[in-house]
């Protein structure tokens, strides 16, 4: 039973943290009475007020937008960012034809160039949220190729290249007039604000209420624009990672058992977060500590 004291300590810590986080609790309202459009306006207003000195497009740069000391190191690293190798690999993979002679470009509008900002979208035919990563693997399946693993490797390289061709284009996420699309949005919103895992944290505990503050050595990124720089090269990983890799590791850090990559719940979460960030320009691929 050697885990017991640690467990106990963790639980007691959480009890403390809970009240700390909740002290800043927001006025409650019947959340379903607001439209996504109203949610987005409130969401963006919150972060603009919380970080009055951050220019709106700069929210794409996460912790570097809100912390000067980190920004200096980031600018140093951006002189020759370590994701450059991934972008090269992604471009080659993107342009290399499948066995049937077709390419990724054939699966996307505008041949896949400059389209990152439109993902994820709600597919009214299948009734589900489609992320860029999912679209890439569906493209492979349609062309008789095996799916790529979602968290790192070629998938990260492909999305790095596709993001780079989309830099500066503002997030342009739509919620079509379809009750299923609205339900997916609401599910993502609920997941974002719900507490999960042993540490009793929600996504919002760190990336809304405590955003810009230090958690151990790191500065917590504001939720606004938080996906705009993906995929990212994290020094901590020493490699590239996709949004799935980040969601999975966030879950694990909250001591919640991660969902499988591209689980519908994670896709709904990405849909909600990206919609909240409408207008923030794509800045991926990015680097993070």
């Amino acid at each position: 039973m050697k885990s017991t004291p640690i467990l106990l300590a963790a639980l007691l810590t959480v009890a403390g943290i809970t009240s700390w986080v909740m002290d800043e609790g927001h006025a409650a309202a019947s959340a379903n009475s607001t439209t996504p459009e109203q949610d987005m306006q409130a969401f963006q207003r919150y972060f603009k007020q919380r970080f009055p000195n951050v220019k709106f497009p700069d929210f794409a740069n996460g912790p570097y937008a809100v912390n000067a000391e980190m920004r200096k190191q980031w600018e140093e690293i951006m002189q020759f960012p370590p994701y450059d190798f991934a972008v090269d690999e992604g471009k080659t993979a993107f342009e290399t034809p499948f066995k049937n002679g077709k390419t990724y470009g054939d699966c996307f509008p505008n041949k896949g160039i400059g389209v990152r900002q439109t993902f994820p979208y709600f597919d009214t035919k299948t009734g589900e949220v489609v992320t860029l990563d999912l679209a890439i693997n569906r493209c492979r399946a349609e062309n008789g190729e095996k799916p790529l693993p979602y968290q790192t490797g070629v998938m990260a390289s492909l999305t790095a290249y596709m993001s780079q061709t989309s830099r500066g284009k503002p997030f342009d996420i739509k919620i079509p007039d379809d009750p299923r699309a609205r339900a997916a949005y609401e599910a993502g919103k609920q997941y974002f604000y719900s507490r999960h895992g042993q540490l009793n944290f929600s996504c919002a505990s760190c990336h809304v209420t405590a955003s810009g503050q230090r958690l151990r050595g790191d500065i917590l990124a504001p939720a606004l624009g938080i996906l705009a720089s993906f995929p990212i090269y994290r020094s901590d990983w020493g490699s590239m990672g996709t949004i799935d890799r980040r969601f999975t590791s966030c879950s694990a850090q909250m001591r919640a058992e991660p969902l499988p990559p591209q689980d519908p719940t994670y896709r709904d979460l990405e849909y909600f977060l990206s919609y909240m960030s409408n207008g923030v320009p794509i800045a991926g691929p990015g680097t993070r500590p």
Binding site: M70, Q73, W74, D218, P289
Partner: protein
């Protein structure tokens, strides 16, 4: 870099390597055999675990502090795995610049040999095990100068 200088190992090192090779052959620890030393690489200096021993192994002479060296490091490293460090100097006739990290497992992080055409400024990214001093060492006109700065390294693994 040309030529078979690969084999210009000091004899003691070579004997050691040969002994290791024999040992590896006997015990099957084949992985060890592949340890090679690039030509010119100051193997002994990279083994030192203190500032004084490192400087002695690298240069064999004492150093004095100088305000003519600029050491650019972050106050708080965003991640100890990637700490940007730049050493520049206005001292003349610079032949070598080295960077030491005082409490890393091995003190010498990097050492640069400059030609007479090289500008006296080098930047790189280093790993730091914990909060400690980074020391920039400059060899100028045959003499050694240094400056140092503390860099705070905190636990990461979250955020982003």
């Amino acid at each position: 870099m040309e030529g078979p200088s690969q084999f210009k190992m000091p004899s003691a090192t070579r004997r050691g390597a040969l002994a290791m090779l024999a040992l590896a052959g006997l015990t099957g620890f084949a992985g060890k055999v592949w340890a090679a030393v690039a030509p010119g690489w100051p193997e002994n200096a990279f083994k030192q675990k203190s500032k004084d021993d490192a400087v002695k192994a690298l240069y064999g002479k004492p150093m004095t502090t100088s305000d003519k060296i600029t050491l650019e490091v972050p106050e708080i490293a965003e991640n100890g795995a990637v700490v940007p460090v730049t050493v520049s100097t206005t001292l003349p006739n610079v032949t070598s610049i080295s960077i030491l990290v005082e409490q890393n497992p091995y003190t010498v992080a990097a050492s640069y040999k400059l030609s007479d055409a090289t500008l006296p400024s080098v930047g790189c990214r280093l790993k730091m095990a914990k909060t400690t001093a980074v020391i920039g060492v400059v060899e100028s006109g045959g003499n050694l100068y240094s400056t140092s700065k503390q860099v705070k390294v905190t636990l990461g693994g979250c955020g982003g």
